[in-house]
């Protein structure tokens, strides 16, 4: 955004200008800078951090497992209860069977937990687990925290997901 703004101003710099254009440019330039400032400000106020790791597949905290979480193909509506899948393997890719996985989470920016108590209820296939009872009660940044107990030992994994507004999805 800032980069784009810089290029725009450079492009205009060498062009011949009339008084009218100068006034217009000054107005637009002020308008543009304020919009950039405003966007930055509002982003800082309510949006998720920009450096948020949104990957749905990564190593567990201590590296004992590789964990992948999969939301439903059609993203659920706000307050609609639904299920995710969790895929668990060792770092070399071997599926991890018979794991016990506890689920926690919440909205760090609002200081509250998940509105439900999701559970990993069964193993659908080798290393593929069903995580039921997921629900997001509002738009924004949600954390999903898994506590894993399995053959390679105890470990945790944290995932971030940003739930969009219904308006943005349509």
């Amino acid at each position: 955004m800032f980069l784009w703004a810089t290029r725009q101003r450079k492009a205009g710099h060498h062009a011949p200008v009339t008084r009218l254009e100068t006034t217009w440019r000054t107005t637009m330039s002020r308008h543009f800078i304020s919009m950039v400032l405003l966007t930055t400000a509002l982003t800082a106020c309510g949006s998720p951090p920009k450096d948020l790791d949104l990957s749905l597949r990564h190593a567990s905290t201590q590296g004992r497992y590789v964990v992948q979480v999969e939301p439903p193909a059609a993203y659920p509506a706000i307050n609609q209860i639904h299920a995710w899948q969790v895929k668990l393997s060792s770092p070399d890719g071997t599926p991890i069977r018979d794991a016990r996985i506890a689920v926690d989470g919440g909205m760090p920016q609002h200081g509250h937990g998940l509105p439900t108590r999701p559970q990993v209820t069964r193993e659908l296939a080798d290393g593929m687990y069903l995580m039921e009872g997921m629900k997001f009660s509002m738009t924004g940044w949600w954390e999903i925290k898994l506590a894993i107990q399995a053959a390679n030992g105890s470990d945790t994994a944290v995932f971030n997901t940003v739930v969009g507004s219904p308006a943005a999805r349509q």
């Binding site: 990564h58 738009t139 308006a167």
Partner: protein, 431 residues
């Protein structure tokens, strides 16, 4: 295979600083550019506003536990039952006594008054089919199960199951049987017996044969299902706020005049630093969840534990989604199966009410503790400590890491209260 380091929690102090900075930046931008408030909705703002309009309200979710929830004949039958006084102990109280159809289906009293005086505020009904939990503490998991509670409550209808079943058989047998099949024979049963009533009523209930208790329970549950079918038809109607947002989306400057500048400022605070939209979000302006916001106890000697005391009740309720009288398969009862039961935040927590038509519903909070909307907004700006459990509102100098204290000037309190006046609309009622 790509492996990434685990996500780290962003720096707390960094975000606190960012929040202060962002407010300063926003203010500076408006001062520098002379934007009018109505001009200043960003794309992100507009998305938030749009998500709060009635246009975005989906149809009420199916209730798999109630086979007649969407049957028009059940709704018509349910309306008559809703207005029926003969179920009550003194034959004077109906559901409509407290949920008055001409008053947003509530009574305007701090606490409900049936055959006696209750301990909580009568809740409005419009749009209620959208939430998974009923009552202020969510001790019921369906609208039909909720409708049964007051009938047996000693201070509401003050009635009991055999009395109710007999009244239903005497006055509504054809309507009942058209929906639910043959009504069981109730001859020889005591006039007053039930598991929630007086000692004599409980004893009379205990000595009834198990299959006859089951018959009465079935009739009782079906009564609730018909009332629920009626209540599902009650929906909030369009408000000035909805029309304003439509005008904003359409860039219709004239249309935006439907809200005053004070009301628009209140809306900006509502979705901004007043933090109302943290819980009051979506088209019904509720997250349908439970929060402790330090609302003063009605009786300081006996503070109400709210949600914390309700989860055990709904789990053992014979009329819950997993019970014998539910029409749902066990797989359908996900809200109950995955209910949060052990979170300390449930202590003293109450359901976020919808703010649709809120201006027509004084007094406020779960026991009518606050008389006016300005008083309510001032409560959040004051953020007192909770009588039981812990308020989730941040306080100055407290250890809350993510939420910032709600700071509002007196005029800002008035602006938010003014905005809340824009959420009123007609209630759709099935004929």
């Amino acid at each position: 295979m790509r492996t990434l380091p685990p996500a780290e929690a962003p720096s707390v102090s960094g975000r606190g600083f960012a929040a202060t900075l962002c407010l300063a930046l926003v203010s500076a931008v408006f001062l520098l550019t002379g934007f009018t408030w109505a001009d200043a909705w960003t794309a992100a703002d507009k998305a938030v506003l749009a998500s709060m309009t009635l246009d975005k309200l989906p149809p009420a979710p199916r209730d798999p536990s109630n086979a007649v929830a969407a049957v028009p004949a059940a709704a018509q039958f349910g309306k008559r039952l809703f207005e029926e006084v003969r179920f009550s102990r003194n034959r004077e109280v109906s559901c409509a006594s407290c949920h008055e159809p001409t008053r947003q289906f509530q009574d305007g009293l701090p606490v409900g008054k049936g055959v006696g005086t209750g301990s909580r505020r009568t809740m409005p009904i419009a749009g209620v089919a959208h939430g998974p939990w009923l009552f202020w503490d969510g001790r019921k998991d369906s609208l039909w199960s909720q409708a049964l509670g007051p009938l047996e409550d000693s201070v509401e209808h003050g009635s009991n199951r055999t009395r109710i079943a007999k009244v239903l058989r005497a006055h509504y047998q054809p309507e009942y049987e058209a929906l639910f099949g043959p009504m069981p024979d109730l001859a020889g049963l005591p006039d007053d017996a039930g598991p929630q009533g007086s000692a004599a009523e409980r004893e009379a209930w205990q000595v009834m044969a198990a299959h006859r208790r089951e018959h009465v329970n079935r009739v009782f549950a079906n009564l609730g299902k018909a009332i629920a079918a009626y209540e599902r038809t009650l929906t909030p109607g369009e408000s000035r706020f909805d029309r304003y947002v439509r005008a904003v989306m359409a860039r219709d400057r004239d249309g935006q005049q439907i809200l005053s500048s004070q009301e628009v400022n209140g809306l900006r605070l509502f979705v901004g630093k007043a933090q109302c939209a943290t819980c009051h979000n979506g088209p019904l302006l509720t997250d349908q969840h439970f929060h402790n916001t330090g609302v003063p106890a009605r009786d300081p000697l006996r503070p109400d534990r709210g949600r914390a005391a309700a989860t055990a009740k709904v789990l053992r309720d014979e009329f819950n989604c997993l019970g014998a009288f539910s029409d749902a398969g066990p797989g359908a009862c996900q809200e109950l199966r995955f209910m949060v039961t052990d979170d300390p935040a449930l202590e003293g927590a109450f359901k976020t009410p919808s703010l649709r038509n809120v201006a027509q519903r004084a007094p406020y909070m779960h026991a009518g503790q606050i008389a006016s909307l300005e008083g309510v907004v001032a409560h959040y700006a004051r953020s007192p400590a909770a009588a039981v459990g812990h308020s989730e509102l941040a306080h100055e100098g407290q250890g809350h890491t993510e939420r910032k204290p709600i700071r509002l000037s007196e005029s800002e309190v008035r602006d938010v209260a003014a905005f809340l006046q824009t959420l009123s609309g007609p209630i759709g009622v099935a004929e």
